[in-house]
């Protein structure tokens, strides 16, 4: 079996997803022997346009990004979106909420026309995405699981159940018991309930499950004293590009 060629690409983001791959200390050497990494922005000098699997980090936020992501889409047989920014736009989408032109003016003043920046979008707005390694940062073990699954030719098991499942498996006390609000009941698990396990509420960085009970979640947050504005703001932190609330209201 020949080793699959993998390219790891960074778009607009913090580089944290690529770092999480480098942080696979115990498995890093196994990883580089299981696949041939031909392109890895953060770690290697050599780069090649000959790859079958593309792992893409970051959102599309410039005209140049669009060109690049489409080119990768033409080459790669399988595309994995890695991290919130690539998967659903992530925090970057807060820029859209503020307004792209307004944001340019705020940060760059009268020099704003020098800056190439467009509305933030997740990569699947431009290319087909086969698998999603969600989260900010993504769970590095899930990235390994996806790569491993691709090598042996099976479908990666990405949970489609809420974070509550992992909280219970971890024996956590629900953070609502401490008066802390949490988006865990509607957020896709797979992070091993990292935030609630650390005593703080889930911010939904992995995005929503397929069939979230948004109305129940809204009721619950309101019961804990959040205003409608607060609730929208909470949902928007990582999911502003997906317009969760707006969509629900139209239903």
């Amino acid at each position: 079996m020949s080793k699959p060629k993998v390219g790891i690409f960074g778009f607009t983001g913090c580089g944290g997803c690529q770092l999480e791959i480098l942080n696979l200390e115990d498995q890093l050497l196994d990883l580089v022997s299981a696949v041939e990494i031909v392109h890895f922005t953060e770690a290697i000098t050599e780069h090649s346009d000959n790859y079958e699997i593309a792992l893409i980090e970051g959102s599309v936020t410039t005209e140049h990004d669009i060109e690049r992501v489409k080119k990768i889409g033409d080459i790669a047989k399988i595309i994995v979106a890695v991290g919130s920014c690539a998967v659903n736009g992530g925090l970057n989408c807060l820029k859209n909420l503020y307004g792209v032109e307004r944001a340019k003016e705020l940060v760059y003043g009268d020099k704003k026309d020098w800056i190439d920046s467009i509305e933030v979008k997740p990569i699947d707005e431009y290319v087909r995405v086969d698998y999603y390694a969600r989260g900010c940062p993504p769970n590095r073990l899930e990235i390994v699981d996806i790569i491993r699954s691709l090598i042996i030719g099976r479908k990666p098991e990405i949970p489609n159940y809420p974070v509550c499942v992992e909280c219970k498996r971890n024996g956590n006390t629900c953070v609502y018991d401490f008066g802390i609000t949490c988006l865990g009941p509607v957020t896709r698990a797979g992070c091993n309930s990292r935030c609630p396990s650390s005593g703080t509420g889930c911010e939904s960085c992995r995005g929503l499950i397929d069939d979230p009970n948004i109305n129940a979640q809204k009721d619950l947050l309101a019961e804990y004293g959040l205003t409608v504005e607060d609730i929208i703001s909470q949902f928007n932190l990582y999911n502003a590009c997906k317009k969760v609330i707006a969509k629900e209201n139209k239903k």
């Binding site: 944290g16 690529q18 200390e25 922005t41 953060e42 000098t45 780069h47 820029k95 944001a103």
Partner: protein, 433 residues
């Protein structure tokens, strides 16, 4: 030998995350030299507007995956200052402890994964693993130790969870503190081996004196707290940073350039070393001496060595901090202090691995951000990198194109500008006119 030289990375063929370098040389004189970052702008100052006081630290940690702890703390400190929140001594000590380990993790990543391939003449850490597996083993072990420390204290290695305005949402257990102490003790043999390896590498002989700016305080090698201090003899309270540091937008880069006393200054490990040498542990001083690093040092290439010396210091000081925290006893009651949101402005300054990092927030009475200003260390170094290059290139102008290109790449890498632009970058094209 070249008289006329045109080094550039054409914007059309730019590869993602790369810093671009343009140097035009005519009759052995530099006509134009620009170092630019074509990174896509993020607009964090805009994203923060309207967010509640407990969110900016989570949002701004996403500015940079590799120094997310630094952003988290600059942010938390700005908010705490604005609202008059005083965290407990236990909180401050734990913050100092976790802080050391982001610094170790980042410095090790830079020295071994990014800079070392230069020293050993391999293209990347992956090929380095084949030619010098022992070096990669040391790097992976040390990095893992530092990451595990951040995971234990912060909840995860990238974008920590437990570190929040007012304290910690969850404390490490005594058992975990003891485990961490053991991990630190276990790091020394690797530090010794690293010392022997680093002694064998050749650091280019290049000096250009500039202004070095870092945090500084009377009680420790400042990373988490202090005044802003310059080797030009001035020292100011962090809250007054605008009196000395100004930013401007330059056309060739989405990152702003910074100025202080002169037309450029350097921040980062070497600046910290030059300002705070006497606060290093004796052990770290010993390592510095063995590696020929003396304060003040004006060779930017030595930044790599200063980073390694800091790793030694951070390991030493972490053990001291753990003993102190355990002696005082971990107390759940002291994990968090009460927070009453109020209007106000606060500036939080820390030493990110790459240097001085400034967050400046103004809150309204509901505890929502009205205005934010962020100054990132990599931005501070841009102008200085250009000035260094202007000094370096004439010195080596008689060398081959390849050597000039390599020296320029190495110089930029020595600054560890930020992971996505420092790694390997500079797909430099040399065009003889």
């Amino acid at each position: 030998m070249v008289n006329n030289l045109n080094i550039e990375v054409s914007p059309v063929s730019r590869v993602e995350g790369h810093g671009d370098l343009v140097i035009n040389i005519k009759d052995k004189k530099i006509e134009k030299l620009i170092f630019r970052i074509p990174e896509s702008p993020r607009f964090f100052e805009a994203m923060l507007v309207g967010r509640k006081y407990d969110e900016p630290s989570h949002i701004t940690s996403r500015i940079c995956g590799i120094c997310s702890v630094a952003h988290t703390f600059a942010s938390i400190k700005a908010t705490e200052r604005a609202m008059g929140i005083k965290p407990t001594e236990q909180t401050i000590n734990l913050r100092r402890l976790i802080y050391h380990h982001e610094n170790i993790q980042s410095n090790v990543l830079h020295v071994y994964f990014l800079a070392a391939p230069d020293f050993f003449g391999t293209g990347s850490v992956i090929s380095l693993a084949e030619t010098h597996p022992e070096v990669v083993d040391i790097a992976l072990r040390t990095k893992k130790m530092a990451n595990d420390m951040v995971r234990i204290i912060g909840g995860r290695a990238v974008h920590p969870i437990r570190t929040v305005v007012g304290g910690f949402t969850k404390l490490p257990t005594e058992q975990e503190m003891l485990e961490m102490r053991k991990m630190l003790e276990g790091a020394y043999p690797d530090l010794e081996k690293s010392l022997e390896i680093l002694k064998t590498i050749n650091i280019p002989d290049f000096e250009r004196e500039t202004e070095y700016i870092s945090l500084s305080n009377s009680y420790e090698y400042a990373l988490y707290d202090g005044n802003i201090k310059s080797t030009d003899g001035w020292e100011i309270d962090c809250q007054d940073y605008l009196d000395k540091i100004s930013e401007e937008v330059v056309q060739h880069s989405t990152a702003k350039h910074c100025r202080a006393n002169r037309d450029s200054y350097m921040v980062g490990a070497l600046a910290r070393f030059n300002n705070n040498y006497d606060k290093l542990t004796d052990n770290a001083k010993k390592y510095a001496e063995e590696l020929g690093l003396k304060a003040p040092c004006y060779n930017a290439f030595m930044n790599n060595i200063a980073q390694f010396v800091e790793v030694v210091h951070s390991v030493d000081d972490s053990i001291r901090l753990i003993d102190k925290i355990l002696e005082d006893g971990l107390d759940e009651e002291k994990a968090m202090v009460d927070i009453k949101p109020r209007a106000g402005r606060g500036v939080g300054v820390v030493e990110a691995p790459r240097g001085l990092l400034i967050h400046d927030y103004t809150y309204n009475k509901d505890g929502r951000v009205e205005k934010a200003n962020l100054i990132i260390p990599t931005n501070m170094n841009f102008a200085n990198i250009e000035n260094d290059m202007k000094a370096l290139v004439p010195e080596i102008i008689d060398k081959s194109e390849d050597e000039i290109r390599f020296a320029c790449e190495m110089l930029i890498r020595a600054y560890d500008p930020c992971i996505s632009c420092s790694t390997h970058m500079l797909d430099v094209k040399l065009i003889n006119k």
